[in-house]
């Protein structure tokens, strides 16, 4: 496998999607086939590359030492890339049905597809500058998607999103500068790249910069207090919220934090320092804060948005443990949460699309008219809650056991926070389920079934099945992640 082939999955969607901008496709049917074709093809290519593996890395252009666009595939790339490749086709299929009655679909799908390529670029990036560049590109390409409806709330949301993202990226950039100066290379190497001789007596400075970097990337990963953009952005069409704000964008933030922690600064340098405690602290606060806000929230999608924020901080908490087990837990939760949260958003979107209901109190008895959707929502809720035999339990177990292993006092606080958050999750998700299925009036006449058509049902069904499958048969996945976490892959 030639290394230049690494560019294919990055460029194919960008060019294919960009082509739609210059040559707009008017016909719906044709556009759907075209977009789905590109997406599916790209996914297949990505999977093939992940399985075959690519030795070495590929530089696009080389400006100076440390300033080059470089791609490779390592363990983390496999995980993130796999998530993207698996979920994007489903999301596209779902989006076709959802956007059926919307306008400017051409533009929408153009950027939707381009974002795919850019995200793959993030996954395959081999050094900080590539990561940073594609990170910024992702912000730009998702702006159009958030602003799609072009109404007052959407514009506001987009503004907020942009401000937060750019500010965050600025802080991250500072981190990049320091790695450039104090590291042997800006490449991602397992265990970190810091040159101890250069660091000398300036540990505290570097730790401070590390915290800034984490917070900078953490804006995208919705760390408190920089989480504000995510609930506001839930005004975007559901395919956008589902894919981007539950999977791609926020996971990219978490991914970047993992890269910076384990592959740039390195855990040997960071373990046991005050920077670790601060990172853990932020994660714990976010977990509790977001779960609590979710309980209070009465808008359906915003509630799920807060749930996302909380779960992302599970990943960041696990990352802050700075042990291979911690990394394994983060990766596990990245995978499982992506699947679970996208399913939940799909169900919420289906409800909104079929019935127009946005608020929780409107959902009474909807289990009768949309049994399929709410059935899968129940499975998804149980999974997020951490019921055994579903995937959420597996990743939560991995995180909590990793925390207990470290024996750091704050990690035990984190464990308590996660367990309490699981309890709150039951409160804010299961009350929806109860409301949906057990309405208080006894209505005997048959209710019109309003389940959506197969475009939406298929992704939801397949993903629910995945949740059960991973929950019951997690062995192979966890072994793979363990190998990646120890740097053997």
């Amino acid at each position: 496998m030639k290394t230049w082939m690494l560019l294919i999955p990055v460029l194919l969607p960008v060019i294919g999607g960009g082509g739609m901008y210059f040559f707009p496709i008017k016909e719906d049917r044709f556009r759907q086939c075209y977009v789905f074709g590109i997406t599916l093809l790209n996914s297949l290519i990505v999977f093939w590359m992940l399985i075959r593996g690519v030795d070495g890395s590929f530089s696009v252009f080389h400006m100076a030492h440390g300033l080059e666009l470089k791609f490779h595939i390592d363990g983390l790339s496999r995980v993130f890339g796999g998530i993207l490749a698996f979920l994007w086709p489903f999301a596209t299929l779902y989006a076709f049905e959802y956007m059926r009655h919307e306008e400017r679909n051409n533009l929408f799908f153009c950027f939707y597809t381009m974002t795919y390529g850019i995200c793959v670029g993030i996954a395959f990036s081999a050094n900080l500058i590539t990561l940073y560049m594609f990170y910024e590109l992702m912000t730009l390409s998702t702006l159009t998607l958030v602003i799609h409806k072009l109404d007052q709330p959407s514009i506001l949301a987009t503004m907020k999103y942009m401000v937060y993202s750019i500010a965050g990226a600025a802080f991250a950039f500072i981190g990049f500068m320091f790695i450039l100066h104090y590291g042997t290379t800006t490449d991602f190497v397992y265990g970190g790249v810091l040159d101890m001789s250069k660091v000398g007596g300036r540990e505290n400075l570097l730790l401070f910069i590390f915290v800034l970097t984490v917070l900078g990337f953490g804006v995208k990963a919705a760390i408190f207090p920089f989480h504000g953009w995510l609930p506001t952005a839930s005004v975007a069409p559901t395919p956008v919220t589902a894919l981007l704000h539950a999977v791609a964008v926020v996971k990219a933030g978490a991914f970047a934090i993992l890269r910076v922690t384990y592959f740039s600064f390195g855990t040997d340098f960071l373990y046991g320092t005050w920077a670790q405690q601060i990172m853990m602290g932020f994660a714990i606060v976010t977990i509790l804060f977001a779960s609590s806000r979710a309980v209070k929230e009465i808008h359906f999608k915003r509630r799920l948005a807060y749930s996302t924020i909380s779960n992302l901080s599970y990943i960041i908490f696990s990352a802050s443990l700075m042990t291979p087990f911690g990394l394994k837990g983060s990766l596990a939760h990245m995978v499982t949460h992506a699947i679970m949260k996208i399913t939940l958003f799909f169900c919420a979107g289906a409800v909104m699309h079929q019935t127009g209901k946005e608020y929780i109190y409107e959902l009474k008895g909807i289990g009768r008219s949309m049994p399929f959707v709410m059935g899968c929502f129940t499975i998804g809720s149980a999974a997020v809650m951490g019921v055994p035999m579903l995937c959420g339990f597996v990743s939560k177990w991995a995180i909590v056991t990793a925390a207990v292993r470290t024996q750091i006092p704050l990690a035990f606080v984190g464990m308590a926070a996660i367990l309490f958050s699981a309890f709150l999750t039951a409160v804010y998700l299961f009350s929806i389920v109860v409301k949906a299925f057990f309405r208080t009036e006894n209505i005997v006449e048959p209710v019109k079934k309003e389940d959506p058509n197969w475009y939406m049902k298929l992704p939801i069904a397949v993903l629910s099945g995945m949740m059960v499958l991973i929950g019951v048969w997690s062995g192979p996945l966890m072994q793979l992640l363990e190998m990646i976490a120890y740097g053997r892959l």
Binding site: A64, L67, V163, F173, V295, E297, H299
Partner: protein, 424 residues
Amino acid sequence: MIHVAIPGICGEGLSFSYHRWEIILTVVVLLIGSIIAVKNVKKPYGKAAAAGVLLASACIFGADDLFTNYICFELVGFLSVFWLADEPDSHTSDAIKKYVGWLVITGMIMTMGMFLISHYAGTLVYSQILSGEALSGIPYYAVLACYLVGYGSRCAVVMLHSWIDSTYREESMKKGILYSVLLIPTGTWSLLRLFSSLTVDFSQWKSIAEMMGVIGGLTIVLGIYRIWTCREKGVLLGDISMLLSGGLLISVFWKASSGQSAVFCLIGYIVVIMIVYGILLKIDWKPKHSLDLEWFSAEHMLYEPLFVHALPFLFGTVFRLIDYLPDAFVALLRGTIYQDSKQKVWDKVGTPATYIVGSILDEIANLLNKTILRKRPIRKSFVNAAAVARRESRETLEIVTRSVSFGLMMFSVGMMIVLIYIMF
């Protein structure tokens, strides 16, 4: 001597031994008891209960250990409830409640005594209780007290006698005689058996006999007083029984160095009570005096104020608080931190902040309008004004932030270019 053992019943198993005198006593009680029961009890379940009581009484007389005694004692007590139900009237419900209440409470106190003996002495067999030294000091007196209450209430001793009033109240005394003949002997016998097994030498026995003498004497005094002031014929039988019971206690304890004297005393008691019963059936009796000492009993002095009023109130309140505590915590959280947000409403007319500020200003304006500015009132709505002001300032802020962020982006790009330049 006859010895019967039925293992496994109720866990520990029952065992009895009958010596000559116990056989005599049992036969007498059974005989007289069955005659009365057949004649006086009407309903079939009452008769069955009477048979049960007789059988259980027989078992008490021969009991080898405290466990057997306890089981049969309680059986006697609870089966005798059925006689109260034999010919129900409007007072039956109250009478049964009171009687069952007595049974349960004194029964539980007695149970505590049994637990204490079992724990400290390790055995419940009469002949073995004092073989170890563990049962001495405070546990010893605690056991004495518990059993005094338990058995003593059955014998209607002073302070523990007030159940007589509701149980014996029927004019015909048909059921009352049953209680006198069957319950009081079993109580006295049980007391005797227990106390004789709790004493090792004569001096200890003497002090117990003295204590029983005092109690018996007080019972006699109270009994006489109650006869004097009795208002109902039925209760009269009860009072006389009480009197005789006191006498029985004294004589049994002063003479009971052997089982023979005790049996004679008990048989004598039964004979006397039957004679009294026969007399009472024939005569016509009118109440003479009406001074009454109803308050002088453990029930009214101790039980009622403490256990019916004070303690339930105290504990009820305390536990209601404790019970509600976790829920109160959750309710507190739900009412404050976890309250459902009311965001939807505010989108239209500003935020809570503007609403509050606007309302305050409105109130002030109202006040001013009513006083100083009566001629030139302020007519502006401050809530609205606050919302509008907020909206305008937000738009301004947006423009500012947009420019700032644009500037930031430019700045970052500029920095990158500068750095690249510096590198070379």
